[in-house]
């Protein structure tokens, strides 16, 4: 995936509450269950859809006065990124379409549980192999399980 704007990639880390190599304080990142709350979870669950569909979003991050020196934070709007689907599809070349559903789960989720195929089928596009792969991947990434990856 290519972000059209590199700052947007950092900002999305900030929305999700974890910026790479930049813990909130010297105590490190919050442990246990405090790392996530209602708002950050909802952003995380919506993120794959937002990026893939280019939907509009407006989020204002908490001001960081140590960096901004008095300037006001502007809301982040559309996060534009180009997903390199063809590259992604190559990982699944040669896999039988019947086995595709299982492979996708193994590829995206690192958990022993996952949503049922029956339910995922209900929301996946089935008209072509590519459409199935893309839509189902986005769905799996919206599952709470994916947040542990």
């Amino acid at each position: 995936m290519d972000f059209d704007n590199e700052e947007a990639a950092i900002n999305f880390q900030r929305i999700m509450g974890h910026v790479l190599f930049n813990p909130p304080n010297v105590a490190g990142w919050p442990s246990g269950n405090t790392w996530i709350d209602s708002s950050s979870l909802m952003y995380r669950l919506q993120l794959p859809k937002i990026v893939s569909a280019g939907t509009d979003i407006s989020v204002t991050l908490k001001a960081d006065d140590d960096v901004q020196m008095g300037k006001t934070a502007r809301p982040i709007r559309a996060l534009s990124a180009t997903i390199k689907w063809p590259l992604y599809f190559q990982s699944f070349v040669g896999i039988d379409i019947e086995k595709l559903r299982e492979e996708l789960k193994l590829f995206l989720l690192q958990s022993n549980t996952s949503p049922s195929d029956h339910m995922l089928d209900k929301y996946s596009k089935q008209d072509s192999r590519e459409a199935l792969l893309a839509s189902r991947s986005i769905l799996l990434m919206q599952c709470p399980e994916y947040q542990y990856c």
């Binding site: 929305i15 304080n25 010297v26 105590a27 919050p30 442990s31 269950n33 405090t34 996530i36 709350d37 209602s38 708002s39 950050s40 979870l41 909802m42 669950l45 919506q46 989020v59 204002t60 991050l61 908490k62 001001a63 960081d64 006065d65 140590d66 901004q68 020196m69 008095g70 300037k71 006001t72 809301p75 958990s111 022993n112 549980t113 949503p115 049922s116 339910m119 209900k122 929301y123 769905l139 919206q142 599952c143 709470p144 399980e145 947040q147 542990y148």
Partner: protein, 398 residues
């Protein structure tokens, strides 16, 4: 199960009739809402370190004028409070509140070994830790833990923002943050998420992502509770800027019958290193307008006695101005308390002592955790010690 009258009317065929009722008739529903006497706290965070000395102005003090030749506020421009003290010219509505006995000002609030980093000092204020402690929970989050031990939805503390502050993060429960309730409500109602939740409920198994499923379910439940029980109609005219809109949301929630006791809003940035007066005046005008609309709204609905607005900033600024007509990070600061139910009004203690500075900075006299203890014990009616982790002597202004 306790059936609330409004939920009942909504659920029954009378809903249409009720909607067609003129607004003044709805007033009879009043005792159905959060009962009068049920205290609400609104925290107003001034992010960036507001300059307290140009907020509450000691206009008879020579040291003040000598230290700030370019930015000190002249006596004739300040809003007069007493012979010695005035407010910043943009805060004229607060001057009116002072005359009405609805404003309390506490000077010299801070903590030992003040930290000059915005981020760190804000963490200290929000978590109520000491300067050498690093806590992962906030004081209002721990209040929430206490309030919501086995409650259905943790909606006792709400932040009007896109992201949740440390102040509202508890050990077991987290507060709730939103700017646009309708958007959150709709996102939480997505059919795919609903199916995921239903499927998860059926499994009953110990699950890797159980905690996240639980958070998701809680989010859904809480959003629905707030959305369906609030009328989303504030009754006054609010200024069209961020703080105005946010306080309008707070008012509409206070006037509905949800169980929220704490609201959290922020405005900034007060980090006025350069050309301080323009920036501080602009922000104060917004605060002034927004508070005027908010307090007028509360008074009209007879809730001003039950609502306490408390302002704070992570630190004050240095006594002397810098070379850019601004001020740099300092230490102690003042706090405002606005309510129709104050026990002590006006200036609650003496002004900052400009003769005994420590390396050019004010020395605090009141630990901010004593203020928190006061609000918790005397306003929100809970024991402060377990929440603050230590005993702090409450003050008596509420």
């Amino acid at each position: 199960m306790l059936l609330k009258r409004r939920s009942f009317i909504k659920g029954s065929g009378l809903a249409t009739a009720s909607l067609m009722m003129p607004r003044f008739l709805h007033a009879f529903d009043a005792d159905d809402k959060v009962p009068a006497g049920n205290k609400v706290l609104v925290v107003l965070q001034l992010s960036g370190g507001n300059d307290g000395l140009n907020t509450v102005i000691p206009y008879r003090n020579d040291i003040y004028y000598k230290s700030r030749p370019g930015i000190a506020i002249a006596k004739e421009n300040a809003i007069r409070l007493t012979d010695e003290t005035g407010l910043h010219p943009s805060l004229n509505y607060l001057g009116k509140l002072y005359e009405q006995g609805a404003l309390g000002i506490l000077n010299n609030v801070g903590y030992p070994e003040p930290d000059r980093s915005h981020f760190r000092s804000m963490d200290i204020w929000q978590s109520a830790s000491a300067a050498n402690q690093y806590w992962e929970t906030g004081w209002l989050g721990r209040f929430l833990d206490d309030q919501c031990k086995d409650c259905n939805h943790s909606t006792q503390a709400i932040e009007i923002d896109d992201m949740l502050s440390l102040a509202l993060k508890g050990k077991a429960k987290n507060g709730f943050a939103f700017k646009d309730l309708r958007k959150l409500y709709q996102a939480a109602r997505s059919p795919f998420l609903q199916d995921l939740l239903n499927a998860h409920d059926r499994e009953h198994a110990e699950h890797t992502a159980s905690y996240l499923y639980k958070t998701l379910a809680d989010t859904k439940k809480s959003t629905a509770y707030i959305y369906e029980h609030s009328q989303q109609v504030a009754t006054g005219v609010y200024p069209n800027h961020e703080l105005g809109r946010n306080l309008k949301t707070v008012a509409s929630l206070i006037l509905s019958d949800i169980n929220t006791k704490v609201y959290y809003v922020s405005i900034g940035s007060f980090d006025t290193h350069v050309a301080q007066d323009q920036q501080q005046s602009r922000l104060f005008s917004q605060i002034n307008e927004a508070l005027q609309a908010f307090v007028t709204d509360l008074k009209k609905n007879n809730r001003f006695e039950d609502v306490l607005i408390m302002s704070f900033s992570e630190f004050g600024r240095r006594v002397a101005q810098n070379a850019s007509r601004g001020t740099d990070h300092g230490s102690a600061n003042n706090m405002f308390f606005i309510s129709g139910g104050l026990k002590q009004k006006g200036l609650l203690n003496e002004l900052d002592d400009l003769t005994s500075l420590k390396l050019g900075d004010l020395q605090y006299k009141i630990d901010f955790r004593r203020v928190y203890a006061t609000v918790l014990e005397n306003w929100l009616n809970v024991k402060a010690e377990p929440i603050l982790g230590n005993a702090f002597e409450p003050l008596r202004f509420i």
